[in-house]
């Protein structure tokens, strides 16, 4: 059974703070993804990674960066948090590119 965990379920940060969101998967999946979910906009891809130390921009990478130093861990970094980054952040992993398994999500509020 695939397990994807995210470091926090709820997070409150202030404008300008650096924010780290951690994601860990235990199924040795090659592919990992970060999405944000906003009402009326569905899931939008921020960044993804096909392998360790490899990353590719998704549809909305501005204001974000990522790190993948180990296969099981994929981190999303908000260099300087802004209020428009208040959202639900979802991490996913997959063996095949399409059947992705999601973590429980992190609800981030930036004040």
């Amino acid at each position: 059974d695939v397990k994807v965990t995210q470091s926090s379920r709820y997070l409150v940060k202030r404008t300008g703070e650096k924010v780290f969101l951690e994601c860990v998967q235990d199924m040795d999946h090659e592919n990992m993804f970060w999405y944000r979910q906003d009402p009326g906009l569905g899931l939008r891809l921020i960044y993804f990674s096909y392998d360790v130390k490899m990353k590719e921009k998704g549809d909305i990478p501005e204001g974000y960066s990522v790190s993948r130093e180990k296969k099981e861990r994929f981190s999303l970094i908000l260099e300087s948090a802004s209020t428009n980054q208040t959202s639900m952040y979802l991490c996913a992993s997959s063996l095949l590119i399409h059947t992705q398994y999601f973590g429980p999500g992190t609800r981030l509020t930036v004040l």
């Binding site: 906009l41 899931l43 992705q100 999601f102 429980p104």
Partner: protein, 114 residues
């Protein structure tokens, strides 16, 4: 440019009846389609998928239909149960180039009334 569209933000159905959720796409290069189900405060869970070489895939109460000429897919849930109440996302992807990632629709909130 919304490549995957779910035009109904919400749907209400009586328990025991059929739920039909619809999804349209614009990119003919998509060749793999999925449905995910999401409860509040949880991550989406994979429900069912279909390859473009098929027009129907069935798994228990869930059936996905694909009409490639119309660029339309639908998810049928029969019979609907109150536990099916959730947001349903359709997603599409391909095997190369710009389609080598999943594109999600905006979701449809299904409410199954007891």
């Amino acid at each position: 440019d919304q490549q995957v569209k779910q035009n109904s933000p919400s749907l209400s159905v009586q328990e025991g009846r059929i739920s039909i959720l619809n999804c349209d796409y614009t990119n003919s290069m998509f060749d793999y389609f999925l449905w995910y189900k999401k409860y509040p405060a949880e991550g989406p869970t994979f429900l069912i998928s279909i390859s473009s070489i098929k027009d129907k895939n069935e798994d228990g109460r869930f059936t996905v239909f694909l009409n490639k000429s119309a660029k339309h897919l639908s998810l049928h849930i029969v019979p609907s149960q109150p536990g099916d109440s959730a947001v349903y996302f359709c997603a599409a992807g391909g095997y190369g180039g710009a389609t080598n990632k999943l594109i999600f629709g905006t979701g449809t909130l299904l409410a199954v009334q007891p």
